[in-house]
Symmetry: D3
Subunit: 117 residues, 6 copies
């Protein structure tokens, strides 16, 4: 059975291709910027991914959360570190964030299982 996270990956890839078939230069530039903004700089890429994760949770966007969770796991953050980062989003954003915590817990389970393979 396909895990939700795998569906997300596939839909995201297809969807991005569809969006980038736009003629809008603004849209294209925001997509390209989105790739570059998280690179190592005065802050390292890992920290920036955690910042992106917390911003995504505070603004309550599951797809954005999933994307940054993947990056955080790829960077070697532990479950405990990611849980602490998410707790900041929960505190700042309130109990309305709880359903996104449930979503993230499900995604993390998949990502850590995959990483261990």
């Amino acid at each position: 059975m396909t895990h939700d996270f795998e569906n997300f990956r596939e839909q995201r890839e297809k969807g991005n291709a569809a969006v980038l078939a736009t003629d809008s230069l603004t849209t294209k530039r925001i997509f390209s910027m989105d790739k570059q903004a998280y690179a190592d700089g005065a802050l390292d890429k890992g920290t920036k991914e955690l910042l992106g994760l917390v911003a995504s949770m505070a603004l309550r966007c599951n797809d954005c959360i999933d994307y940054h969770l993947q990056q955080a796991v790829d960077r070697g953050y532990t479950k405990q570190q990611i849980d602490e980062a998410m707790s900041i989003a929960l505190l700042v954003g309130g109990s309305i964030v709880i359903p996104h915590m449930r979503h993230a817990a499900n995604s993390l389970e998949f990502l850590f299982a995959e990483a261990e393979k």
Copy 2:
């Protein structure tokens, strides 16, 4: 066939268990606070559940709406009372809340049918 609301209940229970497998004390405390904040006090529990419902609608969170609808029906609020509470959220939050009104109408139908059994 399983109603959306039953799926919500099951997913919510599983998801909460997954979240509470966290090491973050902040997250655990917010979950425990979420249980206690709606208890009888200077305002009764029922009024607080309506407040939670309207906050959840204004912030547009279907899972949160479903949870507070269940509590409101359990407390004996009528359809008309709940409809009036939701109309305040719609007015304050705008037409962007309409899809959540549709979601809530579907949930309420289930909850009142279940209550009558």
Copy 3:
């Protein structure tokens, strides 16, 4: 010295007059609806004002908070009851609501002092 709340009242009255000099029927109708939605119905006016207060806090709008605080005090709600209502908004909306709690505490102080005169 003029209290912030008195400035709010004056600005609100002037501002509403300026908005209602619009030709937009939609805008006029929303303003008129805003007056009628909080009337007694299946829920009493007082409860609806608390709902409006909590929606305004969750969406973080100081002017809207001030307006509903005035209505709640006029309806005879105690400080403790209003504090409990606001605590629901704080819990649902998160620590980002705290500055609006500070604003509301200042407004409430003025309103209760005025009510006692």
Copy 4:
């Protein structure tokens, strides 16, 4: 196979009927206003639909986006024009809007295919 957009249409119709079985006059009036606000006036209906689309994207509501996309295509706007309108919502609302751009690209594909039939 049914396209997501067709499901949306069906669910929306059913859901609206369920909401309008309310006794709340406020809710009924907001629904009726929602129909009238986009009519030709000092601005033409087409421009207003684009405004509704961008407001819906900035506030991140897929159902609202779908509704206004349908109206924009019905009014004869080209893909390029709609893409530019959406790029404003993306710029103002940030990368958190990207998943809604993906959703919209999928809906637009359906709507233009349908329009060509």
Copy 5:
């Protein structure tokens, strides 16, 4: 006496200079994109400014509203047209937008008076 709108202009200019003293390429690029996104394209600049105005109102940002009001007045839109555009933001965003309608009415009064000089 200085009108609020003149203070806004001065603060905005100073503030932008301070922000652009950043080393962050992402921030610089978003500022430069913000200038280019509203240029004539498949949609004309005027329509895009109205879209920016409505997105800013729906997201409730007074400074952003003021900026787009200035652009809309410069493009020759009438009070009635701008009022209709703003009514869409009010309808979609709800009564929580009302304080921003008051703010905008005050700004528009200044801008039209200035334009007539």
Copy 6:
């Protein structure tokens, strides 16, 4: 002349005292949690303050931004590091965040000047 940041500090202290004169246990607990959540844990306090800063910017709360800027400067983060953190909030949250970037630039100027004394 008093800098805006000094006014913020004074108002914040007074306001928090007024809020904590509440009888609501929920409100008291959220305030106490807000102090503890940023302590060293699996992530260090500095990283958590940056996370709090970015969440506050994405949710567009100037007072919250100011508070976390103070903490970040106290922890020894450089202007460049803080600028990069804020650029993530700008990218995720969109151009609507720009006025808060202007506010933050003004606060940072004060905080670094104060730190150098």
